[in-house]
Amino acid sequence: MVQLPWLLLLLPLATAALIHFALGGSGRLAAWTGTASAFGMLGLSVSLLVGATAEASPFVWLETGMFHPDLEQAITLSLKTDRLALSMMLVVTIVGALVHLFSLTYMAEDKARPRYYAGLSLFLFSMTGIVLAGNLFMMFIFWELVGLSSYLLIGHWFTKKSAAEASKKAFLTNRIGDFGFLVGILLIWGAFGTVDFNALERRVDLGNLPLTGGLLTAGILCLFAGAVGKSAQFPLHVWLPDAMEGPTPVSALIHAATMVAAGVYMLVRISFLIALDPTAAMTIAWIGGGTALLAALLATQQDDIKRVLAYSTLSQLGYMVMAVGLLASQAAYFHLFTHAFFKALLFLGAGAVIYCCHHEQNIWKMGGLAKRMPLTFATFAIGTACLIAVPYVTSGFYSKEAILDSAYAASRPLFWIAAFVALLTAFYMTRLVVVAFLGKARSQYARDAVEAPTPMAFALTCLTLLSIVGGFRFFAEAILPRGFYPTFDSPHHNFVMAVSIICLLAGVVASFLLYRGREKDPLHITPLRRGLYIDDLYTGLIRLFQDGAAAVAAAFDRHILNGFFLGGTAALTQAVGSVFRRMQPGSLHFYLVLAALGIMLLIWATSTV
């Protein structure tokens, strides 16, 4: 019998293999195969969500003390198909399918379409693996795979130097986080003897933890390091804006809606662990809040339409991480859910604009697009409304209120930071819409732009609908796990809502007045444009470290190794090697003596006399 969850996991892998090995020659066929498979996944995940048997027997990969069933230390590939996983799966497959659809036109001219679609399918496979993973070990495998597919897709146009650099940067930055993640997993494994989510949760419920105090904090923060890398939190946030070098549909799928949310998803999965340790939780909350603020500040001064959206993604991910740290993982996950739709919508809208403006990404060279692309403008405006949380009619409003509510209850400073971020969000998104869509066209491309073609428009429309209803109780409660939809019944709810509406209005009005009818940016704050010099700092640090390490190694080489051996580390292995080569002189006589001595030693060592 075929178990649907396994099918869901293996379908995209099979598609990727099929496209890579069999359909390498035909871009059109690859495109349609990939799209069909993505819609197939959507169908599977819907059917799982509405009640098909989600049972999936685990697959035992490796056991320690292999082949001995009595030792229960198996490394298992098991799937966890609870409502959290299935709802996340729905988000991934909806956005995945629509992005495939969108790519049909967006990538139509591309010469390497089979590679692109194979990459997308590989990504869907790895993402499904993360979402359905039943234990941390399996999650880690797919965590790495997702990094790999993201690397491949960011570098899709690898002949462009910036794209190749960006993909490398994303990969390497993620490695740092992943290293922490691995250490965390090993710590948990060592202490609890299991990495299975169910078993861990049972163990935590029993109380009397094997891991306490500083070690527990360290373990949780190590796991969190994985999320810092993948969800691009400060200080590892630098890769995400650069990742915008990839094709825009990829940015929509991977770097806005799904992969970057995987970090938050993982934190929600292990929220029962985070709740054990207030120190770790508070650290997580502050890193999230700090990232939200930092990214929102940087977003106000970006000129590239995709980079504005990238920083806004960072900032929203910061919100989610902050909520997890404030032990409101339900609110975090709800925001993840709504954000996926409207951020994918915004990215695809940006993609449509870029497509229609012949790959112009600078918003100051657009303008007046509202008239030429009315549908795109309408959908983009709705997406913006969701992001800046226009009250009652948008999904973003409900999820952001949930986070602000919990922030107000848990930590006042973080609440005010979050409110200020909401203001900044309204400011930079209004700036984006005003500059790109309103006013006069400021370049030839913008003047010649026409409405997006049908498949794109269809994808945009679908996402617009989801962006609106995503926050409504009837829709969200049907999909989210029980108790994840906020109740909004706290006593301070009205105050929080008033603050957020004031922030919204202040941001929109200020931005509108400042940017309406401008030909170029009236503000020019260099530190914000340069990302607060964090990138430069890292480059400098890396150079310093490399140079320093090289200098130390050279000195060590020259003064120590050379003194005893003959030139550097290579000589060390050569030296060891040559010692052993000398023990193997090729002389038969020596071999015979060695064998005879061996026999005598054996007999001597075991003689009873």
Binding site: S587, H589, L592, A596
Partner: protein, 104 residues
């Protein structure tokens, strides 16, 4: 003559063979020393067989092995001498010191 006498004689034979293998440099002589080792093994076998009587008769298993050992030794000598002769043809030497192309 007891079992021990035979075993000691065979042991001396074995040690002579092993010692010869270590000290001699001529490949043919070494090969002959190997035959000594096999001979000591057959002598031991026959001795054990002769002194382990099952229902009045020597143990057949061991004597069977003796014949096999002799056969195998003959086969080994046939192949071994052929290889040594081939080596002599190509290097004009059967001394171990002249085997030095493979080392390190």
């Amino acid at each position: 003559m007891t079992l021990e006498h035979y075993l000691i004689a065979a042991g001396i034979l074995f040690c002579t063979g092993l010692f010869g293998m270590i000290v001699r440099r001529n490949i043919l002589v070494i090969f002959m020393c190997l035959e000594l080792i096999l001979a000591s093994a057959t002598l031991t076998l026959v001795a054990f067989s002769r002194f382990r009587l099952t229902s009045g008769l020597p143990d057949i298993d061991a004597q069977m092995l003796v014949f096999f050992v002799i056969t195998v030794a003959a086969a080994e000598v046939a192949v071994g001498l052929a290889i040594i002769v081939s080596l002599y043809r190509s290097t004009q030497s059967v001394h171990m010191e002249d085997l030095h192309t493979l080392k390190g």
